[in-house]
């Protein structure tokens, strides 16, 4: 279930991407954070106890929104724009 709620800029073109292996839809100009949190309610599990996290500062400071791309790169979801066909994977974090 979505965490964020879109209030404006709703008539942008759709962008198809893949989230955890499933087809997903975002809008052009969405950050990965927006794209993901408009359909699911977490971005990753915390590093040491796998608690759900969904970012916190949205300005590249807290480092709590890292997700993985298909090439293995990790990026901050809050400061990376979605691109068509992107394959984004959420990391579950480590169970204690």
């Amino acid at each position: 279930m979505a965490l964020l709620k879109r209030l404006a800029e709703l008539d942008r073109p759709q962008v198809d991407f893949v989230l955890d292996g499933q087809p997903a839809i975002a809008l052009q100009g969405d950050t990965l954070l927006t794209a993901l949190l408009c359909s699911v309610d977490a971005l990753k599990g915390s590093d040491f106890s796998a608690e759900p996290r969904a970012g916190f500062c949205l300005m590249g400071a807290c480092q709590d929104c890292w997700v993985r791309l298909e090439d293995g790169r990790r990026v901050r979801a809050c400061s990376t724009l979605i691109e068509p066909g992107m394959q984004v994977t959420r990391e579950p974090g480590r169970q204690p």
Binding site: L4, Q28, D41, R73
Partner: protein, 453 residues
């Protein structure tokens, strides 16, 4: 063009005005921007293809935001503007950059550091739940992405952003259930004399609150956050007011306690730091012109002390004038003096703001041992108290022993709170527990894999 290499780090109001001032005198700087487009956080521009007008995004500040954006646009062809570029390390004559996954070194002769600020956070139980964001984050979600952090939302904490963000959300059509202001009415009365030094800013603050009340938004003063509840995401928020606990269901909480300066680069450069009682933080020392303790390093904007966007524009221009003066280029002395007077006036106004939105000094004493303090390393308050009781009363020593502030964010989120816990537990004053040191890289690099590598 002059052959001296001047580099500006940060393209918010300070960095942009600094660049403009240099260009006017024939000096073309490199302007490094971690963001995608100039404006910084305060005047952050929405991505290409978005259509809301400036008035909808920046309200009363629309003309100032526009002016900065137009200025940056005009400058782009005259300077070396580098968006999406992180300065991850800084030495006496070189910066280490990362842009589009490429490393680069950039030499400089003179450097203006205008790195801005982030929200100051004091943890509350439940603050790591999805749906909890800083006030700055809530504002970015709306102005940069057209999204609310949830629906309905409760805003809490303190600082000028509190009422502004609540107003912007309600205006944009979000359901704002309540505004929980940590500061009491009496704090704000005591602050009036200071605030009257800048009547337009005071008027805006009063306007936001009056608008919220007139539009049926619940506004509570003297309301302290107690916890945020929820299983996998926010479900409700609890606060205390006059000794009574209240709670409200909501799906998101935006909270923070004013702002804190981003000082890591100044630290790596070796700038001398001084304690600022007003900011309740260690800040790189700067004189009225923006000169740091280092001959070739200049400081401007909120990254060197929280004074707001108007002051950042002035400080950026003043620091650039100092660079020019030190290069032996004649500048308008009267203009420099006028900027310094303007900055001094805003500093006095800041005093008033600090009374209106006082730091919640009782936070550390009330914090439970089980409270999650460091969200990166998942260190709880009790773990920090243990090492303090064992003698680690310096923040860097405590960090080495219990890992607080050692994670990916380098203490940006928990550092201020950790200092409060150490001071409270040890009985030392807040300015005697040391200063959390910056480390290169000041932000994780994309290939730097996490703790599982």
């Amino acid at each position: 063009m002059n052959s001296t290499h001047v580099v500006i780090v940060g393209a918010g109001p300070a960095g942009v005005r600094a660049a403009e001032t240099l260009v006017r005198k024939g000096v073309a700087p490199v302007l490094i921007d971690e963001g995608m487009r100039a404006g910084g956080q305060i005047y952050r521009q929405q991505p290409q293809g978005f259509s809301r007008p400036a008035k909808a995004l920046y309200g009363f500040e629309a003309s100032k935001a526009n002016a900065i954006h137009v200025c940056a646009e005009d400058l782009a062809s005259q300077i070396d503007y580098r968006p999406k570029t992180l300065v991850w390390n800084a030495n006496a004559d070189t910066l280490d950059l990362l842009c589009d996954d490429r490393f680069e070194q950039l030499g400089y002769d003179r450097l203006i550091v205008a790195t801005g600020a982030t929200d100051r956070v004091l943890p509350v139980p439940g603050w790591t739940l999805p749906g909890v964001y800083t006030l700055g984050a809530a504002q970015i979600a709306l102005k940069f992405q057209g999204c609310a952090i949830g629906d309905p939302v409760v805003f809490a904490g303190t600082g000028p952003l509190l009422y502004l963000v609540a107003y912007q959300y309600a205006k944009a059509g979000a359901k704002v259930t309540a505004v929980l202001d940590e500061a009491g009415f009496s704090d704000q009365c005591r602050a009036l004399p200071g605030l009257l030094r800048q009547p337009s800013t005071l008027a805006k603050g009063l306007y936001y609150r009056a608008w919220l009340l007139a539009n049926g938004v619940r506004v509570e003063q003297g309301a302290s956050l107690v916890r945020i509840d929820g299983e996998k995401r926010v479900a409700s928020v609890a606060w205390q007011q006059g000794g009574v606990e209240h709670s409200l269901p909501c799906s998101a909480v935006g909270f923070s306690y004013a702002l804190r300066s981003e000082t890591q680069l100044a630290d790596l450069l070796g700038c001398e730091f001084v304690w600022s009682p007003l900011n309740r933080a260690w800040l790189p020392r700067r004189d009225a012109s923006g000169r740091s303790s280092l001959e070739h390093v200049y400081l401007a904007g909120d990254g060197a002390g929280i004074m707001g966007a108007d002051a950042a524009e002035m400080a950026g221009e003043r620091a650039a004038l100092a660079v020019l003066q030190d290069m032996g280029i004649a500048v308008d002395g009267a203009r420099a003096e006028k900027l310094e007077r303007g900055l001094a006036q805003i500093e006095r106004f800041r005093d008033g703001l600090e009374h209106a939105f006082p730091f919640p000094e009782g936070w550390a004493a009330k914090a439970d041992d089980a409270l999650m303090l460091c969200r990166c390393e998942e260190i709880r308050v009790g773990q920090l108290r243990d090492v303090v009781r064992a003698g680690a009363v310096d923040i860097n020593r405590a960090k080495a022993l219990c890992r607080v502030g050692m994670g990916r964010c380098q203490g940006r989120m928990c550092g201020a709170a950790a200092m409060e816990i150490i001071a409270c537990e040890s009985g030392l004053t807040i300015d005697s527990v040391g200063r959390l040191r910056g480390q290169a890289p000041i932000k994780p690099l994309p290939f730097a894999v996490g703790p599982d590598a």
